[in-house]
Symmetry: D2
């Protein structure tokens, strides 16, 4: 490839930021309290005699607060992780997992496909009594004229992203049904994501799998497909972007069950230039 | 731009991971103790009656542990931040800054230029008594046949990256002198980085600025240029990569003085294809 | 003193526990979020081959969550601490105070006098519009037939202790007015305490001092009298105990602005024995 | 009992503080990293317009850092706790234990008996190759002319307390052998303590119990006797105090496996007065 061309192409892209602002008080599953906190203890202050001062603080956060990705060790089915290995004290330790932790997630640079379910339904957001089905996904693919390929990243829009500052509203919204998670797995996507607290609709027990949050078993444990939660998909929807280069660089936190992330969608400019 | 071409180009790239593994016990400035910790408290366990189990934990970290980027609020000169605004209690709060915090750092997608000083000098790593000078940078640019452009990201290799598992060795190594920081600022780069704990050589007071860590004042405060520390540059050096697409997506941690990062270098494949 | 007598006397006492249970979700001033958290990451688990297993976790807490004592460095008036010393960067550091921190609080073993204001008023709890006045304290002393002596510990009962599990109710209750704090200071007590989130009624600005929480200035800064908050005084009130040996052993947390505590009231048994 | 007498007796006592100063950098078992940290983020600062300012911070600590008491849930033998109950997910949860947590430890007000083994041996401290045996305890009891009674608190002095500021020295010292722990259990003491990081000599596997730290099984699991670690016993030894009122008020941290403590020894004054 011609290097000049490569850099030239990049100067013609637009970047969409898919991370919600990261702060205390954001929507959080009760299990994950206290979520995220930042406190500043080193300060710029007078009188030290040094013209330079440095400020710094501490971040305390569960890896599942805010916009984040689930590592494969996050969920087990019948105490087995993705790949079938049984969870033992050698794999699950007080300071994290020795298999399938966040540090094993390679940088994600893939074709990204957003599926705007709320937009297609014409609703502000998906409600818990009308979660997203396989039929929804297939219909929206047709409507948007996109096909999912192996290795793609599929981002499902519930419309919930506008409610980040309304935690109780945000937490109450509907997510993705088990049949829809299974259909995405069947497309061999590499990762999925949503503007939703937990991908699956919280609190619903799936009759087939006999568990709540069935998509977590289907995607993480059975297929090794990463799940991203609390994405911000509003700008993509507004601009009707249906395909992009998805970039997500999870922190290599050794043994963690996930990582905070700031994913972006890189979109070739519309006013296309002859190459 | 042709979308097909855009995705095709991307399938022909190689990704270099520039983050050191993130774990407890990594090299750390004493001021930043205890640095980084991850503990796992939600566990996969038997007997719950639910086939699905979820594990999760807590990350406790200063924003300056491991591979990270400094936000502009991190450093002040005579109590003023970049842009000249005076630090007051409205700007510097117990829970972070209301100006120039990590959330104001846009995604970095720029041309990246590594400057392999250790390689050019033929040493394993830069020692504290021979820190990197402006002359070093200019010589290496010539040697590598690269020119820094406005908006580029310059990554300076001290060779220290191999010593991540040897904290005392890592902490003792030499960094970048004030004249070199000033020269980089003069090239109007957008960000700089190094495989070093603090960019500047720790503990040296610069005679002109009358402060330790002078590069932090020159770059962050006087020019608004971000500094990245504890990068892993060994693979780039080994493969003699001298130009790439640099991608870094700092977390939008409201008010924080920096963010942990996982930067990558995206390199068009050598075996170029006709386009 | 006769040692035998000393231990015999102690075998005839009753101990009242004045600490509220310490857990996440307890009443908390919004400024102090996230308050208290305990997470368990080292676990008893199978398969290690060692018959002995050990479990342990982490406590993350502000020193002002739950039942606690304020150190003298907690509050300043016009940037001066108790004793008049100006707060500078040498006294107030990122890791705590070098003067008047929690480690300077000697064990408190003093005569304790509870003043049951809610009981005397015949109300369940003191409301914010009827805070406790100097008159209340004097009247209750007469009614209980007690006199405060120099060095005593005065514990003011608002009745709020029954609402520990109702944070919004607990936070809304009334506290102690400035004139009452001043009167207690005039009695030269060593410490005061209440079953209240902040001693003073939260949110009320005192017209004379021109500040909210005036008792904190009067007691901590002007008189060096410790304040204890979130005490549990219900059992003492039920049993109409009006005098006891108060014991409180604050942790010597270097530089902290307070300490969690478990104070007790030791009461000689009523059915007195001839000595 | 005569109240006047009770308070008069107390005015004739001397209080010995048995807590080591609580700060970062104190001796710590590697398993418990990062131990204890205090950071101050709310500050006294200029310009707020309010004469009153309040400072506060966060304590992050394992319950086993510094001077502390082990709750009975801290240790299990063959996955059973004291009393024989099996550890299950209902008893051991992500946020602590539902049985035998620190909140179940009643205030300790008991006769205390220090056993000065280092003093009797005439050594500065007990070394790891000469741990404290049952024979040592019995000999010292005779030498000090004290007898342990049921319900007493026995405090074993290794002499280590002077090395609190020398973590590597402190960690290397010898502790109490299994036979000595068993003998103390046979005396039906309520609690034991030492000026030692882990009561037992760290790293030694007991041949009979087939485990390291056998005293933790004997005392906590088999007999329900609390263990206190990192006590400061030097002042008691210097003054040759052999009996006192021991007071320790563990925080009621729900579900925690222990609590930081500040125990004191209350000693009737020697210059006895006629009562």
């Amino acid at each position: 490839m011609d290097k000049e061309l490569f850099f030239e192409l990049f100067s013609q892209t637009r970047v969409y930021d898919l991370e919600q602002p990261r702060s205390s008080g954001a929507p959080l599953l009760p299990l994950l309290v206290p979520g995220f906190t930042y406190t500043l203890h080193r300060r710029h202050e007078e009188g030290t005699g040094d013209p330079r001062t440095a400020a710094s603080g501490f971040i305390a956060t569960t890896e599942h607060a805010g916009t984040h990705i689930d590592a494969l060790c996050h969920v087990a089915e019948d105490l087995c992780l993705y790949g079938g290995e049984k969870v033992t004290f050698r794999i699950q330790t007080p300071t994290g997992f020795t298999r399938l932790g966040a540090e094993t997630i390679a940088p994600l640079l893939s074709r990204g496909v957003p599926l705007d379910i709320a937009g297609y339904r014409g609703v502000d957001w998906i409600t818990a009594d009308q979660p997203i089905s396989r039929q929804d996904l297939e219909t929206v693919c047709l409507h948007q004229n996109v096909t999912l390929h192996e290795g793609d990243v599929a981002l499902v829009r519930t419309g919930n992203g506008t409610r980040w500052h309304d935690p109780s509203g945000y937490l109450s919204s509907g997510g993705v049904r088990a049949d829809a998670s299974q259909w995405l797995a069947d497309q061999h996507v590499r990762a999925v994501g949503a503007d939703h607290i937990s991908w699956d609709t919280d609190g619903r027990v799936d009759p087939d799998l006999g568990t709540s949050l069935p998509g977590h078993i289907i995607l993480l444990v059975r297929h090794g497909i990463y799940i991203m939660e609390n994405l911000f998909l509003e700008d993509l929807a507004r601009d009707q972007i249906y395909e992009f280069l998805f970039v997500c660089l999870p922190l290599k936190i050794q043994g963690a069950t996930g990582s905070p992330i700031r994913p972006v969608a890189i979109v070739p400019q519309q006013k296309s230039k002859n190459v």
